[in-house]
Symmetry: C2
Subunit: 200 residues, 2 copies
């Protein structure tokens, strides 16, 4: 399998970390590509009309996207090592969705601050996205419980979202008043899966 | 269960149509709310820090989001009526992801055109999102096969995405040169699940 990926994408990192944690990384060739919402990369578009990473190219030529679908596929390949079964399934999937939503808001704020011409930036849009990030962080601080045994998709998505804030929004000071989340990130970031997938 | 919903949201409609098709709509109370990326609705934020619809409130007080997670939950409640098993699972989930991505691009273009102050609009951003929509439509036209029996999540998501284009982007003329998709939409839009959930 080939994973179309970008070193700055938190969604692509989530898939790579999941592949490491599920013991599947040796079956995946990472292909580094560049994508942007205001240009078209023909190589990526040929596999995924949304022109986004991550996109997984299967050996039979089919493509799978987005990150959520790829994680689900890796979960099946690994015999269920990423998504818990039974009642634990729903909090784990909701945690992934909350972390993905945090990433969505952070990406939109990043595009507003770094991609859009300065004269066209809208402070209320930026503030709205940062508000989503702050509320998601507060909700995780109050209610998140890391998986007791091996990391699962909720842990992985949250760790990648927090690390993206360190990478692009260091000025946000997300650890302030969130000691539980800070401790989770410190422990999780030491894992080989996170060390092998640092943003670039 | 209560579904926090908005009459204009294609993601909320996807969940409502899925509930109809899975025979679960009678168990769900639809609660109409208003959300915007540049304001905070406290009722929605209390259940979902991302302040988005759809958000499903379970009878035990827990909240589930986003639309993908809710569909997965409804699939389980219905004994697997929404997401096919086996090899058919992956094209169905990819079709949902492509339709969701089409909706994402359409929402971002809608915000750019209707929400952002006119002086701050960026033509390249709008063109980039419309390009994603056009490529997704072309990919569906070339490769989409409707489910042979009852509609499944790929059909439902695509139908809701196409209907959202009719609702907000009629000027796009998405049916031009896409007769297979146009025929699919005409047939699917006649279903009671679609008739009961028209955008407003």
């Amino acid at each position: 399998m080939k994973l179309l990926s970008s070193g700055a994408s938190p969604y692509a990192r989530k898939v790579a970390v999941a592949a490491h944690e599920a013991g599947l990384i040796d079956r995946i060739e990472i292909v580094s590509v560049t994508v942007s919402p205001v240009s078209v990369n023909p190589e990526v578009s040929a596999a995924n009309p949304l022109t986004k990473v991550p996109t997984l190219l299967l050996d039979d030529g089919a493509a799978l996207f987005d990150s959520r679908v790829i994680v689900d596929y890796l979960d099946e390949l690994s015999g269920g090592r990423l998504v818990p079964a039974g009642a634990a399934r729903w909090p784990a999937l909701r945690d992934q969705a909350a972390a993905d939503g945090l990433m969505d808001a952070a990406l939109l704020a990043r595009y507003e601050r770094a991609l859009r011409p300065e004269a066209l930036r809208w402070a209320e849009w930026d503030a709205g996205q940062i508000g989503k990030i702050e509320r998601a962080l507060d909700t995780f601080e109050a209610g998140f419980t890391p998986s007791a045994r091996a990391p699962q998709i909720g842990d992985i998505a949250l760790a990648c979202a927090l690390s993206y804030l360190d990478f692009r929004f260091a000025d946000l000071g997300w650890r302030n008043g969130r000691s539980r989340l800070a401790a989770f990130a410190e422990a999780f970031n030491a894992r080989p899966s996170m060390q092998a997938t640092q943003p670039a």
